[in-house]
Symmetry: C2
Subunit: 334 residues, 2 copies
């Protein structure tokens, strides 16, 4: 395991609560973790937020522009030379940082990371992995939106890279994998999912078969806990956005019956996306962590923790090694 | 509007709580609605459950066998001549009943209904429509599991038949339609969904564009309330099973903080599937209502109400008329 002190570039201007919550989260992380944190963005706005007692492991790199939340990815890409997001990603490309975190425009982040950092050898398509707050503990769900039309081979590769992430960052040895479908039997599903089920049986992973929508809140099927749930980015995105919206609705319905806000809030901590940090973009070189647009300082601190942990464990290199081993094994060389 | 006194065949032996809850629900419906109810199943088991004060609009048709909940559809189909499900569906085919309701094996119900009743002229593939308990009121979601791989044309047809159902049974004039995708812009989505968006723009429906996972709990997008949500049966099934499972989990988390069971239960009434009755199989001749396997007597009563309403309004015939009108309009005849 490669242990090194991580340098993490943070897009200080990206997100609904930027730059205040981003800077506050970076300060929390700088005090809590053994990592160097670089706030990228408008120095005139960031400096006053840092206060006088700034930790020595936090510094600013100036970038004059920022990417609006609703800007098209192609336009953000063209302007990436001067935006906080573009400069932060470029620091990973040049080796000035090991990881980049942004709560900004996620479509722009994805496009800029793909173009600037490029994919790891052997990766067909990078995937966004969301750490899903399930009852039995954090569960990795991927792809959660980077790829809408996926082949069976791509789903298998998502399983493989999701397992590396679960091992390295969540500390799960031999992670269990479930394929999201509409029934537990291998013959249930759409054409791609049925083919992926057959491929996953022979993939050398700890594959536990299909899981269903009802298994997601628990993070477990009838066959036991699931560490990595695989689906295409269309289904993953629909489910995640639904999850984010249904929990507050239920809390609202219960709150209307006179239950105190504090009680509801403490009950919902288990499901708070902020506790699980950001979503890694797996399969690109370096470490890119997509934080939620609504990130609070706590969410940013946790996203920085995920970034640091990914760097310390050498997660990105492990993905490349795992794919190379698999390719060698399939050719009978290993 | 065809107004007739509906005759509804109920599979008395299908469902986790059959026959007791099915018979109890049929008794509730017989007393509440102006409809004739036929309980199909083992007379020796059903008769004692009816009690002595049986309403005159309820009767038994004997069927010696029943379909196990986990039996494969093909096997259930072969044995359908003597099972309660098979005999109940056959009553619709022969005209002895107008509608069939079953809380039993839904895969078997789907297969038997398709083979015995056949599809309405012009229907490519029937769809299961679930009435989704959204905050703004019941919303029709289809397909919820009958078709896993769908073409764009099929999604448009689901929109069309879902609108007839929303008009006739939910009483929504000119129902609004949303297409489930991963962003509100027409260019967001997988290949089939993008094509379906373009087709729906010209379909002559009240199409409100794409809706996202976050819009589902509310039953509305930023452009207003949505009456009919269209998706393929893979996504629909995953979302529905997730919804069924996430609400109890959240209630459990809150209950652990000492909130009383009664308060939680009353808050969750809005989301109770039992209040919305069963899911119609739209596109087959006659009326087939798939009730939830866990149906209580209340859920069965409500499913029978949906069946009665579908018959009274002539919903199934309207689907055929609507498709014929559309075909004529497209040929420039109308």
């Amino acid at each position: 395991m490669t242990e090194k002190r991580p340098i993490i570039a943070v897009d200080a201007m990206g997100g609904d609560n930027a730059p205040a919550e981003i800077v506050a989260g970076a300060l929390l992380a700088a005090r809590a973790y053994d990592a160097d944190i670089v706030l990228v963005g408008d120095e005139a706005q960031i400096q006053p937020l840092l206060g006088i007692d700034t930790p020595t492991n936090i510094r600013i790199v100036h970038a004059p522009d920022s990417v609006p939340m609703d800007q098209h990815a192609s336009q953000a890409l063209r302007r990436s030379g001067t935006t906080s997001l573009g400069v932060a990603v470029s620091m990973v490309k040049s080796g000035d940082a090991d990881a980049v975190v942004s709560a900004g425009n996620s479509g722009a982040f994805l496009a800029i990371a793909l173009i600037k950092l490029r994919t790891i050898e052997g990766i067909a398509r990078p995937a966004i992995a969301t750490v899903w707050p399930a009852l039995k503990g954090p569960t990795v769900l991927l792809d959660s939106g980077a790829n809408v039309d996926c082949s069976a081979d791509e789903l298998v590769q998502f399983a493989r890279i999701g397992c590396v992430y679960a091992e390295d960052v969540l500390g799960r040895p031999n992670p269990s994998v479930g394929l999201l479908s509409i029934g537990e039997e291998p013959e249930k599903g759409n054409a791609v999912v049925k083919e992926a089920n057959a491929l996953l049986m022979q993939a050398g992973l700890n594959f536990q078969g299909n899981v269903e929508g009802r298994d997601l809140p628990l993070g477990a099927s009838e066959r036991g806990p699931i560490d990595v749930v695989v689906c295409d980015g269309f289904v993953g995105n629909v489910i995640l956005k639904f999850y984010e919206s249904v929990a507050p609705m239920i809390v609202k319905l219960i709150g209307e019956k006179g239950v105190s806000h504090d009680v509801l809030e403490s009950a919902m901590e288990t499901l708070d996306y902020a506790t699980t940090g950001g979503a890694p973009l797996l399969g690109v070189k370096g470490v890119s962590i997509i934080a939620h647009g609504k990130s609070s300082s706590t969410a940013i601190r946790n996203a920085l923790h995920v970034a640091a942990r990914s760097v310390e464990t050498g997660m990105s290199a492990h993905i490349g090694q795992r794919l190379a081993q698999r390719a060698a094994a399939q050719q009978g060389v290993a």
